[in-house]
């Protein structure tokens, strides 16, 4: 007799039947979803939906916040051995008042929409991690200008928002600053002629090759 193994179309049939079964399952699911419930009260459904929503939303935000910690960022050796190691000797890591900036303070926008947009862009970084784009110091150095240019462009576009989350121009007392800083801030910052990143590149990490970058020799 003809068995499925002998039939040259057996594979095709099996696939067709799988497709058909999937379609039937989807249709059945759609019917269940669109049919009014005959078992649960409307109140139960609304309440269950509400609770499920709270759990989903809370879980989503908790998971998102977990990826917004220095511990998470420095979990990869690319960050720990390069940018984090460089941050340690700067004023944003140790200083007289003990207030310090962690990775997300500068690199993740604080308001929700921008944060989600940045997190979506960060999927490129997951790609880079998987394929080892910067998994050695040499590869990191090779990519440093490109990576830095992305951050400079982001800071320039949002008027150094992440700097200003802590360093407000309105709260800046120029009489407490050194003469040099006082003059420069009054001439360029208060007049909005320049934004923080224009002068303060390399404040937290080492600089890439700066040839051709405006303001650098």
């Amino acid at each position: 007799m003809t068995t499925t193994a002998d039939d040259p179309n057996a594979g095709l049939n099996a696939r067709r039947s799988f497709l058909a079964r999937s379609r039937d399952f989807a249709l059945e699911l759609w019917r269940v979803l669109t049919r009014p419930s005959s078992v649960f009260a409307l109140g139960t459904l609304v309440l269950a939906g509400f609770v499920a929503g709270v759990i989903f939303w809370g879980g989503f935000n908790t998971a998102l916040e977990l990826t917004n910690t220095e511990k998470f960022c420095t979990g990869c050796h690319e960050m720990k051995d390069n940018v984090y190691a460089e941050l340690k000797s700067t004023v944003h890591f140790t200083n007289r008042s003990g207030v310090r900036a962690t990775c997300p303070d500068c690199h993740v926008p604080h308001n929700w929409t921008d944060k989600i947009a940045r997190k979506m862009q960060a999927s490129k970084e997951v790609w880079g991690k998987i394929f080892g784009t910067i998994d050695t110091r040499e590869k990191f150095q090779d990519h440093r200008l490109e990576l830095a240019a992305h951050e400079w462009a982001r800071f320039k576009a949002n008027d150094s928002l992440e700097c200003r989350n802590c360093h407000s121009a309105d709260s800046m007392d120029v009489t407490k600053q050194s003469p040099r800083a006082s003059v420069a801030h009054q001439r360029f910052l208060f007049t909005k002629e320049k934004t923080c990143i224009d002068c303060h590149k390399g404040i937290a990490h080492q600089l890439p090759d700066m040839r051709g970058v405006p303001g650098w020799q």
Binding site: S178, L207, W216, Q217
Partner: protein, 156 residues
Amino acid sequence: MMKRSAIILLAFAIAAGTSSLTAQTVTSGLRGPTPLNDEGPAPPMLPNRNTSEKEVRNYPEQPPVIPHTIDGYQVDLNGNKCLSCHARARTAESQAPMVSITHFMDRDGQFLASVSPRRFFCTECHVPQSTATPPVSNDFIDIDTLLSRATPGGRR
């Protein structure tokens, strides 16, 4: 009797001598009262001078000192933070003194278009100044003072 009292006297003298030696701490102006075989507490670090006011040079060839802090300024193959203000093209905006023309000279005395590589690393010659009081005073006398002493009727 005479001999015995002499021995006692000698013993007292030796005892007094050794005790005075052990009790005495060698006080040096630089290391303070710490005994020679101990390491004393480190003096506190003092901030750098940050007035941004030009300081007088002690002799014409002296590289001017840096009258401001330069903490975290990167000066290496990748970039030179000092030149962000002191380069020729940047001085209008920064109002900082331009690096002198001698920095554009190569070792044959030829002027290059920009700062010569051998004069690129600023802190080889130019240094910021600490606010600490020097533990040893300096009696350097500059040439103008010496010349005024040498002139007839000058203050000696």
